[in-house]
Amino acid sequence: MAEATLTQPGVRAPRISSPLLTTLNRVLKYTLTRLVALLLTVVVGVYLTVLIANMGGYVDKIRSSQIREQVGAQYGMDPQFRLLTKEEREALINEIVAAEEKRLGLDRPFFVRSLSYLTTAMSLNLGRAEHLTSDSGSSEVRRIILERLPPTLLLFTTANMLLFFGSIFFALSLSRRYGSIIDRLVIALAPTSAAPGWFYGIFLILIFAALLGVLPFGGMVAAPPPAQPLAYALSLLQHMILPVMALVLGSVFLNIYQWRTFFLIYSSEDYVDMAKAKGLPARTIERRYILRPTLPTIITSFALLLISLWTGAIILETVFNWPGLGRLLYRAIGLYDTPVIVGSTVIYAYLLAITVFLLDFIYALVDPRVKVGGGGQKP
């Protein structure tokens, strides 16, 4: 195991004897620290989001309309009040709303209020959407958002897995064939990553949907959705080809170029020459002496890439009519549906935090400095 070779006897923790346990312990500790740090970060991030949204009093509006609706539903139907005239009932409802607002602290100073908004936003408990509804007909913001989450995750994860493994594989093989025509072609193509994925999406739609007519213009499954699971999966796959291609095209060449450069820099290190001198097979050198030490750097650069890709995914979904979060956000903008916009922003903050956390965890697994306890100093 690679872990065993990397845990030097000299730095082994004295109480736990097994090197594997030490490693696990360290990774866990590191991960937990990062998790707590990230949770705090999310809290601060969501708080900032709430502050921005509330600068124009929008969260206040959401909350008071929510109260009004609840009170209206509760007392409007009550037979006890049926005998009252419309005005009297209105006045009564207004009174109750005011009392409720006082109870919930809407009359308190902003700072105190903003803290209660924070919990509301963190739990996505944003009440009802103004116009949008979920496919099941609910207009609860949390349901609408959670319903749109799986398609986004499906598209994004597929594309990024392809991007990560494809890029690493290709970059390694390029660093072996340094200076060849393909290598130079990739260097020449690297600037194309200046354009985001959705931009290539437009071209892909133009070529494959409009001109050739072989792939659909957009959407997630054919309409009506096929009843058989297999047919459904095939239809889904067919609809996924173009958006995934667009996401990959948007950053693949820059990725390969950067990683190939990392590999080349690291393969000129003395220990690699030493390994070559020892006569180790090329595959082993690549895996153990080049890929291994570059992985932390590569994961860090991939994390930054992923964060920028999340942004691009919003428009990509819009361009491809993909029924995910991005498209939801786009429709919410068009309808000025405030609760959904705030909720989507919060969920994107969550998604980014989860992305950072997952990559941190992987980082902890591959970075020997974390394992041998050299402190979590990141480059």
Binding site: V42, Y58, A195, L206, Y348
Partner: protein, 446 residues
């Protein structure tokens, strides 16, 4: 400084960088031309104007250059006006009024039918409306009665929508009936000299009639037109300075502030540094685009406000980590110690000793960042959050997308702004990549 310039001159060894520079210079020239030829206010007025300004323009016309690549020549738009071309008009006295004959003769060498035919009338009279009789004379001498009517003071006659004329030409769309070769299927236009005759009889001595005959073609100008008849050239031209300004200002604003904050944190170290580090981590999970969307929906869609928000949000961007790593190395250099020894203050050390060291590394990053902000502006526009008044490339794409341009095969509508965006992106990033390889010693020769 001298080594910096010497390094910079190395750029001529990179052909891609030269190509990128050419593109950037060309874009700057276009931007300057747009600013001079079409003042800011005028561009906004034109872009927001309705049918009044653009009535002589065809709707959704392709750019003229498509004719160069196709054997089928699509018709161009022609505007014939008796008020500006007096030679088309002959006036004879007739009773108490006049007999005005307007002859619009034009050549029609195209393989496609026009989109629309409209006559606009400007009529002067006191109480008695003049009577107008319109005829169509084809190159082979056939004469078709187009219609008769009595116009108001400002009136138009939509030839293609006249139901009686439609029946008269054999129950096919009017423009096809008027231009088609007789008895030939499939319908093809007859090329040659057509005459459209407007004969007006007025019943008052001072009464006068002027006509403007517009043959709306299927191509227009260098850029084509959109669904509101607007010449796309306005937006394509004006999109250039806006995109460049947005990209440049955003890139400059973010890199400079980021650099100074990184230098500040490294120099003071300790708690200042760790606060900056924590803020950077918070910033990393703040979703930039959703926040911009919130700002755009709740406050204002002005492009300059967006620019400000982008810069504020990117101050603590991930680039701080890169700069920090470099500053940490520089901070330990002997010359910094020397500066401290002679009593230089923190401000002086940061601005005079730390920051200049990083500038060579900063320039490539700055250049590479520009296109990403140009595309960010386009992204916002595609989400419908473009600046409400300014014509930009992103807004053309947004208009095209929302009108199903790809689905309805108006490819030019998307391709032209997309090509300009791509050109900008490639131009800057090719230069940036070359600069990176020049200034970053680790990348030398790789």
């Amino acid at each position: 400084m001298r080594t910096f310039l010497r390094n910079l001159s190395e750029i001529k060894n990179y052909p891609s960088a030269i190509a990128g520079l050419v593109v950037i210079v060309a874009l700057l020239v276009v931007a300057a031309y747009a600013l001079i030829a079409l003042p800011y206010q005028e561009a906004i007025r034109l872009w927001r104007a309705g049918e009044g300004v653009w009535e002589d323009y065809p709707r959704l016309a392709r750019p003229s250059w498509v004719n160069l690549f196709s054997a089928i020549k699509l018709p161009d738009t022609k505007v014939l006006n008796s008020a500006t071309q007096p030679e088309t008009k002959t006036v004879k006295p007739f009773g108490e009024g006049r007999d005005i004959l307007i002859n619009f003769t034009f050549d029609y060498p195209y393989d496609g039918f026009p989109q629309d035919l409209i006559v606009y009338f400007q009529v002067k009279f006191e109480s008695k409306q003049p009577h107008i009789d319109m005829r169509w004379i084809t190159p082979d001498g056939r004469e078709i009665v187009v219609g008769q009517f009595s116009p108001r003071r400002s009136d138009s006659f939509r030839i293609t929508q006249d139901e009686r004329l439609r029946r008269r030409v054999g129950d096919i769309p009017v423009q096809e009936g008027l231009f088609a070769r007789p008895e030939v299927t499939p319908l093809t236009p007859l090329k040659g000299k057509y005459t459209f005759q407007v004969n007006a009889i007025t019943f008052e001595p001072d009464s006068d009639v002027d006509a403007k005959f517009v043959i709306y073609g299927q191509v227009y100008g260098l850029a084509g037109t959109d669904h509101r008849r607007r010449d796309l050239m306005v937006a394509l031209l004006w999109g250039t300075p806006i995109a460049l300004a947005f990209g440049l200002l955003a890139a400059l604003g973010t890199t400079l502030t980021t650099m100074f904050i990184a230098a500040f944190g490294v120099w003071f170290g300790g708690i200042v540094d760790s606060i900056i580090q924590r803020i950077t981590e918070v910033r990393l999970i703040l979703p930039l685009l959703p926040i911009l969307i919130m700002v755009g929906t709740f406050y204002s869609r002005s492009i300059w406000l967006m620019l400000g928000v982008v810069i504020v949000l990117s101050i603590f961007g991930s680039a701080i980590k890169t700069y920090r790593a470099i500053f940490l190395q520089v901070k330990e250099s002997p010359y910094i110690e020397a500066a401290r020894a002679y009593g230089a203050g923190s401000g002086r050390i940061i601005t005079q000793y730390l920051v200049p060291r990083i500038i060579p590394l900063l320039i490539p990053q700055l250049v590479v960042l520009i296109p990403s902000y140009v595309f960010l502006e386009a992204s916002l526009a595609v989400l419908g959050l473009g600046d409400p008044v300014l014509p930009t490339w992103g807004k053309i794409i947004d208009d095209a997308q929302s009108n199903g341009a790809l689905y309805n095969s108006y490819y030019y509508w998307v391709l032209q702004p997309a090509a300009l965006l791509m050109l900008t992106g490639l131009g800057f990033s090719m230069v940036g990549f070359a600069l990176d390889r020049i200034f970053n010693p680790r990348l030398r020769g790789l």
